[in-house]
Amino acid sequence: MTTLLDVQGLRVSFGPRPAVNGVSFAIASGETVALVGESGSGKTTTGYALMRLLGDNALVQGTAVFEGRDLFTLPEAEMRSLRGRRMSIVFQEPATALNPVMRVGDQIAEVARVHGESVKAAREMAVAMLERTGIADPARRARAYPHELSGGMRQRVMIAMALLLKPALVIADEPTSALDVTVQAQILALLGELKRESNTAILFITHDLGVVAQTCSRAMVMRAGEIVESADVETLFSAPSHEYTRELLAAVPRLSP
């Protein structure tokens, strides 16, 4: 397996106290890695930092070598050409991450458009991708506005946008947290299926250990801006080495005692 992304000493601060404090990890091509932690642990900030989506008020330090180039020193134009094409992100809340006044088909097609496809080709790609996400009657759904779709369908649209150009890396930021449990399972299955088809690596940002067990091969536990434990999922669940990981595991509600 080849290393796709190698992050070394990532630090992000918005003020005197760093939100991410010296995080290092690597992701191989096609791998699914979880970044687990409670709210405010810095996991989402890590994901945004990698996509260079943080505002001017964020100070980002360290290196993140992606396909041989350091993301943090790339000119903005080159970064833009990577976004959506080689690396993309699925947001937590599809209800707000989709433009309410734009047809979903056009939003999906826009990804292909901005990376050089013709209007016609982009539109066809969008409909084909919608079909692959399991949406019935995709040509008609492509003309729908986000408010006309259910939460699950909206997240399928987001996934269609993120995976349209078969990126090497998808950062999935709590992609199922806003959804019903049954829909969650479908969305996770879809993500898994699409990533296998295009050999996409996924950095799965979540607080849900159930999701981690279901989807990831390896997990990194983050707390207060630092990765406190990193292990393959079986080891993490059977023999957590860090006290915080044990606490997280103990916090998972169970039906039987």
Partner: protein, 285 residues
């Protein structure tokens, strides 16, 4: 129950007034467009200044004649063309400039935004009439077209303020971040994701701007600084009647009514549009 009744009451209160206003504006625009067909006389013709000047309304001249014996109704009809045309062009210019500047400031943020905001506030602190009087003093032979452009060039800061506020709000939306995360260029984000959300506010501001520009032009023309004789505008027609006051009431009342009815109608439409657009007003319904 109560909420439903209130809703109905509001609707019936808002309804007829808005429809009447829309009908008035549609009528005036139609009159302006069809002026040559509608006007009973040549608005510039002075048949006989000695015997036919300052005639009160009669069958021959429905709204009377002015001091040069010109037909007031015909001048009023052609005046609609001038006054509404100036307003449309001026607001078009102000809207275009204001949208461009406001979008740039709101989207770029940082020092660009601060610079633009301070400049706009500084411009807005100077009375617009004063600026226009200076401009007219500097260019005494300003044409009607030039006057419209000047009204537009002094109108953009108010529009820029509205657009900037809306753009800033929209730019903070998740879907704008999502568009960036998918590689959309700043210009694409601005034109496809940010500005469309500001269109309703821009339309409201433009409508209300028309209601500001019409009296402004009328005022300047009444002072003899706007549209010059012999071209008729509602403002300079009133100037014609000012000398004789109540003796030639038709020279004051009819153009005055045209101005008042137009501005009132546009304000009714504008306020109604604002209610439809503003979530705070909508939420309280």
């Amino acid at each position: 129950m109560i909420a439903g009744q209130a809703e109905r009451a509001r609707r019936t209160l808002g309804g007829p007034a808005v429809y009447a206003a829309l009908a008035v504006i549609a009528l005036f625009v139609l009159v302006a467009l069809l002026a040559p067909v509608i006007a009973p006389h040549d608005p510039f013709a002075q048949p006989d200044a000695a015997t036919q000047a300052n005639l009160a309304p009669s069958g021959a001249h429905l709204l009377g004649t002015d001091r040069y014996s010109r037909d007031v109704l015909s001048r009023l009809v052609f005046g609609a063309r001038v006054s509404l045309g100036i307003a449309a062009l001026a607001v078009g210019i102000a809207m275009t400039l204001g949208t461009a500047v406001g979008a740039l400031a709101g989207y770029a943020g940082g020092w660009t935004d601060r610079l633009v905001t301070r400049t706009v506030d500084a411009i807005l602190s100077v009375p617009r009439v004063l600026v226009l009087i200076f401009i007219v003093a500097a260019f005494p032979h300003l044409s009607v077209f030039g006057l419209a452009i000047m009204l537009g060039l002094t109108g953009w800061p108010a529009m820029a303020k509205v657009v900037r506020a809306q753009v800033r709000e929209t730019a903070a939306m998740d879907y704008v971040l999502a568009a960036r995360a998918l590689g959309v260029r700043p210009l694409g984000i601005l034109t496809r994701h940010v500005l469309p959300a500001a269109v309703p506010q821009i339309l409201v501001a433009a409508t209300l701007a028309v209601a500001t520009v019409i009296p402004l032009e009328a005022g300047l023309s009444f002072l003899g600084l706007g549209v010059r004789q012999p071209t008729p505008s509602w403002g300079n027609m009133m100037l014609d009647g000012a000398d004789f006051g109540a003796h030639t009431w038709w020279l004051l009342v009819f153009p005055g009514m045209a101005i008042v009815i137009t501005v009132l109608s546009i304000n009714v439409i504008g306020e109604r549009l604002r209610e439809m657009v503003d979530p705070r007003v909508r939420a309280s319904r």
